[in-house]
């Protein structure tokens, strides 16, 4: 155990993993409860187009992905707001379009030897000190925004219509949430990979949802599950020499299945049925 912690890349990966576990879980609670799973996946895939464009234009791919994700996320939000295009439809369109753009751009930058595979599937080796700093800063931004707007985000998540009636800017808060999802995707990209990041957002929160009927407890449990899945997943992927993102997500899935089995709601129903 102590031997692997001597490696700088492993220390960075574990710290990044813990940060990712926390952030994905916190944001995931809103995504799960507001039924935004599909838009989470859509934003994640959009980041691929951003990474590829960043490589082509010589911009830091993480920064490029962040800008790209925000544009796509808010663009989808604006289209949906005017009632012009239903949200799931524009997500479906941009989902594929941004992936296609990424693939096209990679074709143009063939000479370049950048590990785009690492962005797609995640890699422990990929976390540079700069990436770690970006993750820490973006993570701090996400947590501060959630902390500041805690009651307001809870209100729009529970009952958006009443929040609006009460005079809260429900729509702008929805855009804040879309921004938070974008930040979360981008800060998790390097370790978990674009393909799997939406699973790490959804799964810990979905597992916690099975275990409690209290919002704050759900968030705390989601964070616990997210951090466990991310850090244990990284260690497992090192020992087993497997892809880090896939290992983390499968471990989270295991926690989810366990919590479904142990769900007090389900157990109550089960014993009532006897």
């Amino acid at each position: 155990m102590s031997d692997i912690l001597q490696y700088g890349f492993m220390q960075r990966a574990l710290i990044a993993g813990a940060v990712i576990g926390v952030i994905c879980a916190v944001v995931g609670v809103y995504v799960v409860l507001r039924g935004m799973a599909f838009i989470g996946a859509g934003i994640a895939h959009a980041s691929f187009g951003g990474v590829a464009l960043g490589v082509l234009l010589g911009i830091n791919p993480v920064v490029a992905a962040l800008v790209f994700c925000l544009i796509i996320a808010w663009g989808i939000g604006i289209l949906a707001r005017k009632g012009e295009v239903r949200e799931d439809i524009s997500i479906g369109v941009f989902f594929a379009a941004t992936m296609a753009l990424g693939i096209l751009v990679i074709g143009l930058t063939k000479g370049y030897q950048v590990d785009l595979f690492g962005y797609l599937f995640g890699s422990i080796l990929a976390v540079t000190p700069q990436d770690l700093w970006i993750s820490l800063i973006l993570g701090a931004v996400v947590l501060s925004v959630v902390g500041l707007f805690f009651k307001d985000l809870l209100f729009i998540t529970f009952d958006s219509e009443m929040a609006e009636v009460a005079g809260l800017p429900a729509e702008r808060l929805h855009f804040v949430l879309l921004g938070l999802i974008s930040l979360t995707v981008v800060l998790s990209m390097k370790v978990v990979g674009i393909i799997l990041v939406s699973a790490l957002i959804i799964t810990p929160a979905a597992a916690a949802y099975q275990l409690t009927e209290d919002f704050r407890k759900m968030m705390a449990l989601a964070v616990l599950i997210g951090v466990l899945a991310a850090t244990l997943g990284l260690l497992l992927s090192y020992w087993l020499n497997t892809a880090s993102g896939a290992t983390i997500v499968l471990l989270a899935t295991f926690f989810f299945l366990a919590s479904v089995a142990l769900s007090p709601r389900r157990l109550r129903w089960f014993f009532k049925a006897r």
Binding site: K151, F155, F158, V165, A166, G167, E213, F215
Partner: protein
């Protein structure tokens, strides 16, 4: 405020209101004045524009024609006075498996007044507690909303509306899916609040409510069909408005019976007013 003052200045004034969704006309030429301290029942068949009417009064929908005034001002322009309107939306607008406790839902009634980013104070908690006392649900504060019965849940949503200490309470079919006894005690509670000075506007499909609790009834079906005191407007006309003109009424004995074409099943309501 004296009775004559209240009569002189209605707190809701709708003049020649028309509301259209895209090209569909939901409300056409509605005129309605609601004096302070009254108990108005709004009836009409499904899709007749009852919810639209409430939302117009709330200011979340703007009419395409006509003027709306609530407390003397357009409802979307009420500012601080917005809190004087309490709203209990039509059921099913919230996810009943949402991990949240009744007490927190009631406290949400204060969130708009507290404002973005600020936390509830002890005054807010006190107001929420008092609202729960008024509707008799203090013992349910820690219950997750998913575990409440339909009647208890409706009281929670009324308490949420009352937490702001409103002068006007709008309720949209508050007892749909609630059994007759629970529904009765719910309307007894509304009547008590009305006697305490609250102006009540309730959308209902329940003829008993119109007869026993309301002092004014408005039947709408895009246009205003009948508007007046329950004892004065023709019962047949109200019933025809509620159930459609093809319903036939058999007036024998103290309980009016009706025969409805096709396979609709309806509860006949006791009419204590004869």
């Amino acid at each position: 405020m004296s009775e004559t003052m209240a009569e002189a200045k209605p707190i809701i004034e709708l003049e020649d209101i028309s509301v259209t969704y895209q090209s569909h006309v939901a409300l056409n030429n509605i005129n309605l004045g609601v004096p302070a301290g009254s108990f108005l029942a709004v009836v009409g068949p499904n899709g007749s524009g009852k919810t639209t009417l409430l939302k117009t009064i709330l200011g979340t929908i703007r009419p395409s024609r006509g003027t709306v005034r609530v407390f003397g001002r357009p409802p979307w322009d009420l500012g601080e006075e917005r809190r004087r309107i309490g709203y209990v939306p039509q059921a099913m607008s919230v996810d009943l498996r949402f991990p949240i406790r009744a007490g927190e839902v009631v406290l949400m009634g204060r969130y708009g007044r507290i404002g973005l980013m600020r936390r509830p104070s002890s005054t807010d908690r006190e107001a929420a507690l008092q609202a729960m006392q008024r509707v008799g649900i203090t013992d349910l504060a820690n219950e997750p909303i998913g575990r409440l019965s339909g009647g208890q849940r409706q009281r929670v949503f009324v308490a949420r509306a009352l937490a702001n200490d409103p002068d006007l309470l709008l309720l949209d079919e508050p007892t749909t899916g609630v059994d007759i006894a629970t529904s009765g005690s719910f309307y007894d509670l509304l009547y008590k609040l009305h006697k305490e000075g609250l102006t009540v506007v309730v959308v209902s499909h329940d003829m008993g409510v119109v007869a026993n609790y309301a002092d004014t009834v408005a039947c709408i079906n895009q246009c205003m069909v009948v508007h007046g005191r329950p004892g004065e407007v023709a019962t047949g006309e109200v019933l025809a408005c509620m159930y459609g003109p093809r319903a036939a009424f058999l007036d024998h004995g103290p309980i009016p019976h009706m025969v409805v074409p096709e396979h609709e099943t309806l509860d006949t309501e006791k009419d204590k007013n004869e």
